[in-house]
Assembly symmetry: C2
Homo-oligomer: 297 residues x 2
């Protein structure tokens, strides 16, 4: 695989880890980073995440043809702003790591129309509650799923190139169209983050709980709460962007969650006899769903 | 600490692990197990969780005075049935590992009245999605919180004995009254289990998600969903018991969760402009609550 020069927009956990994976697999690669603010520049250079770093304002019109690969690892909104500035010809492969696909893919399709292009939208599923280039690690993508979403008119060669690329850094890939991606991710990623966040705020709003919590020298929580709260409140900028970009599917997922949770709550109504059978059925259905989704027994 | 003979009712993960912890700390201890069904007998003996095993029907009126310590590690309902059969004098220490406290403590107080007794209700917070004596491990209680809830008229000596006992197997302890325990645990343990269970059922109810899930050779989930679904649907018998015993506090917690989640959902209403500030505030509040509850930065 020919990979000499790579341009990465955004050097947070994802972009930075991609740089480290690249260095491991392609030791001679020359990486150019474009970042928004000065403050992470030192970390990026110290960790060798890039050979050169530009602020966005310093590189407003990059010469795209210099690069074999350009990666957009910024919030979706800023990717949407860049798309209409991309070249309509050349061999450079473009890809993003956006958490939602519909708006990006629509923008690419609107821009390129029936012109063949080399833009493949991708979503490596390895987010973390950690952020920033300090947290970057070379094996973030190993054994992780990277979802590939080719917009219309993407060349077969670019799709194949991007697949081989992700597999070369240790990921496994599957294709998903943008709508299926966003609906599936609303349920398997976005809703869990919302629910985790609400969970800690519900505990935080309970006076008795917080009195005990604050009176205890160590956490009162068991493994359940610990796991369930890990992703709460993490990375607000990214999540605000996901909320915006996946508004309607996320609305539907939350709505269904409220609907199902209300059914559970109502089984506990003070004046009703306790319907053990319904709870058991609900619990057993969850075991079945969990096995299918996690592919584990 | 004088610990020669111990009687353990119920040899699942918790009772079995307690047996292993006891053997490690008190190598000469003689453990008697009382179990409900024949099927785990072989595992219990093979793993040396007990020196002798009785079925419940074989030991209907135990001679309590034989034991230094009697541990009830069964669902709360069956503990409630045993309490009125306990002796009103003697040196035996009684304790349970029940996940809820109100009904147990009320039953103990109703039974003993103003008689001094040695019954201390305890809650070691080390549940797991694993069940049964097969899953028992000697360090389950190491570094875990064990909540102590002494009923009225419990002797100071028994409370002190039970505290030293739990600390001797590696736990740290705090005292909590039964109402505070059940309200706090509704938020920090029971609600998370309900929410995890609903989460997988919401994903399971979504056709697009399940089509992608079933079409993929490996799990589509990232770390978020994996952590958030770990405890879903686990151990239905125990959870049905918790639902029964902590009905009203759990109802309140779920109700507050629905209330807060509805507020988040409504921020995503199709015709409303997206209120970034409110989401950010909610997310930042969660970070603060999470730090306080988990005592981590």
């Amino acid at each position: 695989m020919n990979l000499n020069r790579v341009l990465i927009y955004g050097m947070g956990l994802m972009g930075g880890s991609l740089a480290l994976s690249l260095r491991k697999k392609y030791p001679d690669v020359f990486i150019t980073a474009v970042i928004r603010s000065e403050k992470s520049k030192i970390t990026i250079l110290e960790k060798s995440l890039a050979n050169e770093v530009f602020l966005q304002k310093e590189l407003t019109s990059p010469d795209w043809t210099l690069y074999d690969l350009v990666v957009f690892s910024t919030p979706v909104e800023s990717i949407l702003q860049i798309i209409p500035t991309l070249p309509k010809s050349g061999n450079t492969i473009f890809m993003d790591l956006g958490s939602t696909k519909e708006t990006i893919v629509s923008a690419v399709e609107a821009y390129y129309g029936s012109n063949t292009h080399n833009y493949i939208s991708t979503h490596p599923m390895c987010g973390s509650e950690q952020v920033g280039p300090e947290a970057a690690v070379p094996d973030l993508y190993a054994d992780k799923l990277c979802i590939l979403t080719p917009p219309q008119s993407a060349s077969n060669e670019s799709l194949e190139w991007v697949r081989v690329f992700w597999e070369s850094v240790g990921s496994w890939t599957m294709e998903m169209d943008s709508k299926s991606h966003d609906e599936t991710l609303a349920n398997l990623s976005h809703l869990p983050h919302v629910v985790s966040t609400v969970l800690v705020n519900v505990a935080g709003a309970n006076t008795t709980t917080m009195k005990e919590v604050l009176g205890s020298p160590k956490p009162i929580t068991g493994g359940g709460f610990r796991d369930m709260s890990r992703i709460a409140g993490s990375n607000p900028d990214m999540w605000i962007s996901i909320f915006k970009e996946n508004k309607s599917f996320l609305y539907q997922s939350i709505d269904e969650f409220i609907h199902q949770l209300t059914e559970v709550r109502d089984l506990l109504k003070p004046d009703l006899p306790f319907d053990e059978g319904k709870i058991r059925k609900f619990w057993e259905l969850a075991l079945l769903n969990k096995e299918q989704i996690r592919k584990s027994k």
